[in-house]
Symmetry: C2
Subunit: 343 residues, 2 copies
């Protein structure tokens, strides 16, 4: 099937291609009768202009990309959902690049996206969540950002000066800790997260600080780092509970690990929250899917995506948005935390 072009339409309507282009883009007045003829020809052939040709000329593609580590982790679809909604309203289509946390895949995608001339990139997880990102990896993104607008979500590249938007995770951890303290807990543990990711370190630090205010120590044996997954949380919680002294409450790096922790607690015959309190982080849909429902820290996941696109769009349009947006997390109290009781 011969693909039909603007020339075919022009011929059919007895006009020049420029006129066709004009009605296509409504870019200059066209006599009503000619417009009719053209529209008719377009309709007849089901003509759709070739966006590639247009983009080549206009140097914009109406396409943005989201690079993220794991679309299977419910946190990311939530961000995507928000992002996609506002992107669509602004006329962008989304590339989704799943990297499985593999830095070389991030690089690969970065390169492909530049070739495809995306208008902008939203970057989540992976290298930007490293507490100590190797200079080459960091440099690559920074150089990229000189050519195509980039927004970092919930991450950072030191001294990069890149635009970013993130949840104040320290604040979130602080709130969660305060919540447990208010409930009377003093023996508090922390579970999950790779100990070289900033998302983990930031939280641990904030928890320590808050506890110190109350003269409480975060015991080393009660900090367990590992996978971000359900199974990870379970394993870590098992380690935690196999110790002679157990905490009466546990903060988790995300909802996944919190759920793992709940499972482990059950397996140890503990009741939640009567015997042990557990707090998640993210307020992903998961948190209401478990029993007991998870007390967790919400980070406005949809909004994170929405604002990221908003910001990206600003950069693309040459406005100079603020370099940083910080979102305040808040506590969502549900069923997995309760007052401390001496066992």
């Amino acid at each position: 099937m011969k693909t039909i072009t603007i020339y075919d339409i022009a011929e059919e309507a007895n006009v020049s291609v420029s006129t066709v282009s004009r009605v296509l883009n409504d870019t200059a007045p066209v006599k009503a009768s000619t417009r009719e003829k053209i529209l008719k020809a377009i309709e007849k052939h089901q003509f759709q202009p070739n966006a590639l040709a247009r983009s080549l000329l206009k140097k914009e593609t109406g396409t943005i990309a989201m690079i993220l580590p794991d679309i299977t982790n419910p946190f990311f679809p939530e961000v995507f959902w928000g992002a996609e909604n506002v992107a669509r309203s602004k006329g962008y289509t989304f590339f989704l690049c799943n990297t499985a946390g593999d830095y070389s895949r991030e690089s690969e995608y970065l390169s492909i996206l530049r070739e495809k001339r995306v208008d902008g990139i939203i970057f989540l997880g992976g290298r930007i969540n490293l507490s100590n990102c190797p200079p080459e990896l960091s440099q690559e993104v920074i150089e990229m950002a000189m050519r195509v607008p980039i927004v970092l979500v919930n991450g950072n590249l030191p001294k990069s000066g890149l635009h970013r938007i993130y949840t104040d995770e320290a604040e979130g951890a602080t709130i969660a800790t305060q919540h447990l303290i208010d409930l009377g807990h003093r023996d508090i543990g922390f579970i999950g997260g790779l100990d070289y990711t900033s998302t983990t370190l930031v939280k641990v630090k904030a928890i320590k600080k808050k506890l110190k205010e109350y003269g409480i120590d975060l015991k080393k044996e009660w900090i367990q780092s590992g996978e971000f997954s359900v199974q990870g949380g379970r394993d870590l919680m098992n380690k935690m509970l196999n110790q002679v002294r157990r905490p009466s409450a546990v903060l988790c790096v995300n909802d996944f690990t919190a759920i793992g922790a709940i499972k482990a607690a059950f397996e140890h015959g503990l009741r939640i929250p009567e015997d042990i309190s557990i707090v998640g982080f993210d307020d992903s849909p998961l948190s209401t899917a478990v029993i007991p429902e998870l007390t967790t820290i919400s980070q406005n996941t949809n909004q994170l995506g929405e604002l990221a696109v908003e910001m990206l769009d600003q950069i693309i349009n040459g406005n100079n948005p603020k370099k940083q947006i910080v979102l305040k997390p808040y506590l969502v109290m549900r069923q997995s935390t309760g007052p401390f009781k001496k066992i």
Copy 2:
């Protein structure tokens, strides 16, 4: 920053653009020394060819799209994960189009994707999951498929002759029913799913058939249709349990509703599986996140995505793959089902 082109490289290296193109694509032998010069120039300027220009010429973009209703439903990220993996290995990048189940958004995306000249489209949910798809909606997809390869996943458009790949949901429902029967259950109910979606109807039909083999009737009051969500499952299960006669086991349209059902059962003071058995569908990651872990039907979600891309790639390359691939689901026994006990 002037974007640099193949011409700049040619000039810098004192060769013609065709030679540059040759080393870029390795499409013809080039003297080692010239290649060096060119490579050096490319490196120096960080040159990356413009994929738009190339695509315009070659009539292929290395881009495919996935249209789906709700990336927030964990079933879809699983499919995407599988799809993305093989797509990447074949050199495709993915557009992700979230439609929120809105048919007009599907149409909108269909149109945009054609303008952007994607090489192919994978379509899930929405209109292709309607037991009775309006002709206009159906026709639109069929016409689209004449211009760009389309693969339908877990859905169908009657008489369209479109390529498709799907799980044998009837088989899945049959297996699940058999499982309950084998456990001694006779009072079996069904929960969830909009009653105009084929995914719901197919299951109900299969369940009825299997039950009939054992001379059992699927009572009308024990078929509850509604949302596909956790909350939906919960509401429906509540209705179910508020009746004078309750089933001893319930089959659910997906894992979401199954989890809702579990919650409702708990709220009614029932133990699972001692007092009531519950079976999910999909074997999404959720199913091991709940307590008790869900007995469910696995539909090889990753593989669904992988094969969809495989098939799409075949069509794109003009091979003529089989029109249909059917995946066999299987039972994953976990903790939410148990032998029937007279209460």
